[in-house]
Symmetry: C2
């Protein structure tokens, strides 16, 4: 504990999480040991267990907080309007901005469901479902108001989420492509996918508002 003497518990816990995200994204959850993680953080293994009694507690905490942060970000971004097009544009822009900032956490959340115990898996899947429900509600409202033209609300929701989460697989901001530019193109593709009738100028304004916020 010598190296962390004087630092407070919250800082140590944050350091553990950060190191865990990096190691697990790089090597996979099963391949990472608590001893290796302690060495990376510069504490003894015993100190780690005070914060996370088991390795699975640590994984579960990372995955739960990732989903809670996503739900929290959407809850803050969600516009007051009932207009489905505005809500969908905001959902997409928020989703892309959130995941681009959290590539490693996203990879862990997608890959390591296999490593959770059944009860914890159920817990995480419930959080995911409540997030997906938000999108399904937007799609349903848009279809009912005839501003969207969809075949299947559930499948369209999955398609949109896969498409926009996929941005983090290949996208690195550079001279040619900015986060805002990529978001605009994905907004436009999402609107086509849902058969939106709104013109593109409107979408642009909404996305811009969100991205500058």
């Amino acid at each position: 504990m010598a190296r962390t003497a004087g630092s407070d518990g919250e800082r140590t816990e944050a350091a553990i999480r950060e190191a865990a995200v990096d190691l697990i994204a790089r090597h996979g959850y099963e391949a990472v040991s608590m001893r290796q993680l302690a060495a990376r953080v510069g504490v003894q293994a015993a100190a780690l267990y005070r914060y996370f009694p088991t390795k699975e507690d640590l994984l579960f905490t990372l995955m739960r907080e990732h989903m809670e942060a996503l739900l929290g970000a959407w809850s803050e971004a969600r516009p007051a309007t009932t207009d489905a097009t505005t809500r969908l544009a905001t959902f997409v822009a928020n989703h892309i901005a959130f995941h681009i900032e959290r590539r490693s956490q996203t990879h862990i959340s997608n890959m390591e469901l296999r490593s959770l115990s059944p009860e914890r898996l159920t817990f995480i899947l419930r959080l995911r479902t409540s997030y997906e429900k938000e999108l399904r509600a937007i799609l349903r409202d848009g279809a009912e108001a005839s501003v969207f033209d969809l075949d299947d609300i559930g499948l369209t929701a999955m398609a949109v989420i896969q498409m926009i989460t996929g941005v983090i697989v290949w996208f690195r901001p550079d001279e040619r492509l900015s986060v805002e530019g990529v978001t605009q193109t994905y907004l436009s593709m999402t609107m086509r996918l849902v058969g939106a009738t709104t013109n593109r100028e409107t979408q642009h304004v909404h996305a811009g508002t969100r991205l500058r916020a």
Copy 2:
């Protein structure tokens, strides 16, 4: 070697690959040892090294063959026509059918790029690029012939691939949803995404032909 005495080398190699795909998809590449794999197959570790001198040789073989099989399947499915809509519908149906049959291989191919040496990573990424080029060529031809209406060919290609590969994350055939039904809905969503002008009946016929083939 007692348990495999009498079996021929090809059968042993196939058994090694099958066990490796299952173990790596379940635990992650780094967490799986050659010893564990040998035990699963029922051979001694020394026998494994005759087929795959290193663990990375095995991973690389699995990933290379996955991409070569995908390119091969597309090469067989590719229609002779120049019509971009037919080609796109065939591409999507082939992609979904291929990946639904190979969930574990697909997860490994997407997750374990991190575990390849730089030269081998480059090799696999080149195979991916040549596959993506096929889709970009279809999108470009369709845009030039004004049957598609796209903002960005490269981004649309990535969006389509992420969207249709995403099927394997959540889809399990059941009473409500068949592979053919899901493929139809994804074909319809792809056509919206690319701004296709063709009517849905045409797409239906093309997809049906492919799925029955």
